[in-house]
Symmetry: C2
Subunit: 414 residues, 2 copies
Amino acid sequence: MNELKLTKEQSLEVKRQFELYSQGVQEIIPTEELEVKIAKSIVENRPLKIKLGLDPSAPDVHLGHTVVLNKMRQFQENGHIIQLIIGDFTGKIGDPTGKSIARKQLTDEEVKHNAKTYFEQFAKVIDMEKVELHYNSKWLSNLNFEDVIQLAGKITVARLLERDDFEERMAFNKPISLHEFFYPLMQGYDSVVLENDIELGGTDQHFNILMGRHFQEKFGKEKQVAILMPLLEGLDGVEKMSKSKKNYIGIDESPQEMYGKAMSIPDELMMKYFELVTDFTPNQISTMKAELQNGILHPRDAKMLLANTIVRMYHGNDAAENAESQFVSVFQKGAMPEDIPVVIWEGNQEVSIIDLLVELKLLNSKSEARRMIDNRGVKLDGNKVEDSTLSVTVKEGLIVQVGKRKFIKMKFFM
Amino acid sequence: MNELKLTKEQSLEVKRQFELYSQGVQEIIPTEELEVKIAKSIVENRPLKIKLGLDPSAPDVHLGHTVVLNKMRQFQENGHIIQLIIGDFTGKIGDPTGKSIARKQLTDEEVKHNAKTYFEQFAKVIDMEKVELHYNSKWLSNLNFEDVIQLAGKITVARLLERDDFEERMAFNKPISLHEFFYPLMQGYDSVVLENDIELGGTDQHFNILMGRHFQEKFGKEKQVAILMPLLEGLDGVEKMSKSKKNYIGIDESPQEMYGKAMSIPDELMMKYFELVTDFTPNQISTMKAELQNGILHPRDAKMLLANTIVRMYHGNDAAENAESQFVSVFQKGAMPEDIPVVIWEGNQEVSIIDLLVELKLLNSKSEARRMIDNRGVKLDGNKVEDSTLSVTVKEGLIVQVGKRKFIKMKFFM
C-alpha cells in the first residue's frame, strides 16, 4: 500500500469498500491484494473488473445463487464492472465419455435460451444494463491443438490432482477422464482473456478460481483476487441449497410461497440468511444479533422480518406486506387465507373423499390421499377428516384444505 | 484362426511369416492377433500396414536404430507396406515449459532437412521407394480444442500415470507438466488416422504403442498389434546404444571405423548383434551358436564375421573384405596399415614430441599428449616413446602412431 499515495479521504474510501466487500465472505485470497486493487482503482479512477462464471445448463436461480449476486451488486453499486461469463464452450461439448447425463450437449439455441433465463432473473439483483456479457466459446473455440499444448505446458499434473474431488477419486481408484482436467484450465484461461481483477464464486469454486490466478501469472498478467462466498444451506438447514435437493427458495416463486418457505428456515440459520441474501448492512445485522441475544427481539419476529425482506427484494413492498398479513392470518391465527382458488365442480354431488382430493389435484394419487387423511392432514370447512372412506356431499362454497397451505373453494357448474 | 479358411499352403505361409517376424523380438502384444493379421492378409491378398514413428529432432542413425529397421525390412520383403511417420507436429511445438533443451522448437526447414537425413540413411536398409511417408502435423494441426477434449475424454488420468516414467516422477514428487500427457495421445491418434495393422518400436515404446491400440478401439477401428524390439546395448556392453553415450556404430561411418568398433563389442553380446542388426537367418544363427559352444568356431572368428557382415551391409562386399584384411594386418599381425595418411611438415626439423603430437592434431592438447605418452600409447616408427620431454628430429617418412588406430606418415615440404 505504501507505493500508492492516498489522501486521507481516499484511505477512508478504501477502508469503507474493503469492509463492505469483506462482509459475509468465507475467504479472500489474498486479502492484502484486494486492498491494493481497491486503492489503485480509486487513485487511478479505474473501475475493477469482477468476473462471475455461469454454467449454462441449469438456469433456475434460487437464493443460494444470490449470495454471490448480492456481492456482485455491492461492487456494481460502487462503480465497478461485472463481467458475466456464460461457459457455453463447455456446455456445447457435453460429456465426451457419454457417462454424465447432467452434462448433456446443449445446442446454440438452448445456450441462448438458458442465458436469457439467467439474465431475466439476475435483473432482480443487479443492473443488467451495466453488465459485460461474454460467451467463452468466443475464444476457446479458436484454440487449436498447439495452443492447448502450450496451455497445458503451464500446469503440472500434481497441481491438478490437488483438487479435492480429483484427489479423492484417485485415492479410491475411481476414474478421472483426462478431459476433466480441462474444465479448470478453461476457467483459468477465461481470466487470462478477460484480464479481470477479481473472481467471485462459492467456496466449492476455490480450486477453479485459483486456476485463474495461476494462468494469469503464467501469461504475464496481473493476478486476480479470489473472493469465495459461503455456501448457503437450504430450508432443511443441512444440505447446500439446490434445486435437486428441493430445499430451495426460487427467486421467481410467488410472494406467498417465498414467505412461507422463509418462515420454515431453522432459527440457527436465520442470521446467516440475513448476512448472505438480504440487503441488510453489517451494522443492522450486529444490532439485530444483540437484540436477539438479550431477548429484546423474539426469534419469530426476526424470522418474519427475514421473510418480509426476501419477498420485498423480489416482489416489492406491497407484496411483502400482503404475504405477511396472509401468513399471519392463516398460520398464526389458524384462519383461512382470503384469496382461496375456486374450482368449478362438474362431477357428481356425492363423491368419496379420496376421489375428491385426487380430482381436485390436491394430491397425486389415491394412496397419497389416503395417507394424508390418516395423518389428519385434510380438512373440510375447517373440520379434520378422520375417515378415509368418507362420502362427501359437495355443496356450493365448500372449502377443501390439504396440509397447511393448500386450499380450494368449490363452486358448482351452472 | 478357425473362421479363416486357409489352404495347407497358406497355413504354411502364415507360419513362415509369423516365425520370421517373431525372430529376435522382445514382445508381441498380442501374439495371436499377429497370426490372425498375417492370415487375413494372405487370404484377402491385402498387404499389412506397418507403422514406425520417428522423432524429427535427432536424425543420426546408428546400429541401435537398425534393430527396428531390419524388422521393417522383413515385412517389406514380404510385400507389406511400411508407414513412416515423422512426428513433426511435436517437433514444431518444442517444449512449452521451456525447460527441455532436447525438445527445442524446430522450423519447417529443420524438420524437412532432418527427415531427408533419415531417409538417406534408411535407404541403406529398406526400399524407400515403397515406403509411405506421413507427417503427423497434417492431421494434428487441424484438431481444435473441442477435438482435443473429445480425444482426452477417451482416456483416464490413472491409465496415463501407469507409464513408467510418469509413475516414477509422481512417486518422487517430480513435476509432470500436463502437456506431456499429450505425447502418448498423439502417437495413439496417429494410429487411428493411419489405420495401421502393426506398430513397431523399441521396448521403451511399450506404453506409447499400446496407446495406439487403446485409441483405435475407442474410435471403432481394428486394433494394431505391438511388436517391441529389444534395446541394443552399445559397444560398452552396458548402456543402450546412443549418440550421447558415444557407444555407437553409426551407419554412415567409414568401413575401417565400423569394422574396428564392431571388433570391440564384448563377446557375450556378439550373438545378440547377429540376431538384431545383421541379415542372418534364425537357422544360421542357431548353427553358429552350436559351433561356438562345441568349440568348432573360435569367438574371434565369429566376431570377425560379425564385423565383416556389418560393413558389408552398409558399404558392400569389397569394402568389407578390405576393412577386414587391413584390420588383420594392423592389429592381428602388429603391422602398420597400408594406406597411412601423409602429412606435409612445414615446421622445424627439431620439435618436442608433445608439440609434434598436438601440431599433427593426433591429440587435442599438450596435457592429453603427455598423458598418452605416460600411458605408453605413442610410437615413432613402431618404437614406444617413454619420455614426454623427448626432442624429435623429423625426417622424411617418419611414422607417428597414437593408440591402436591413428597413424601419420611425415613428409617434408619441398
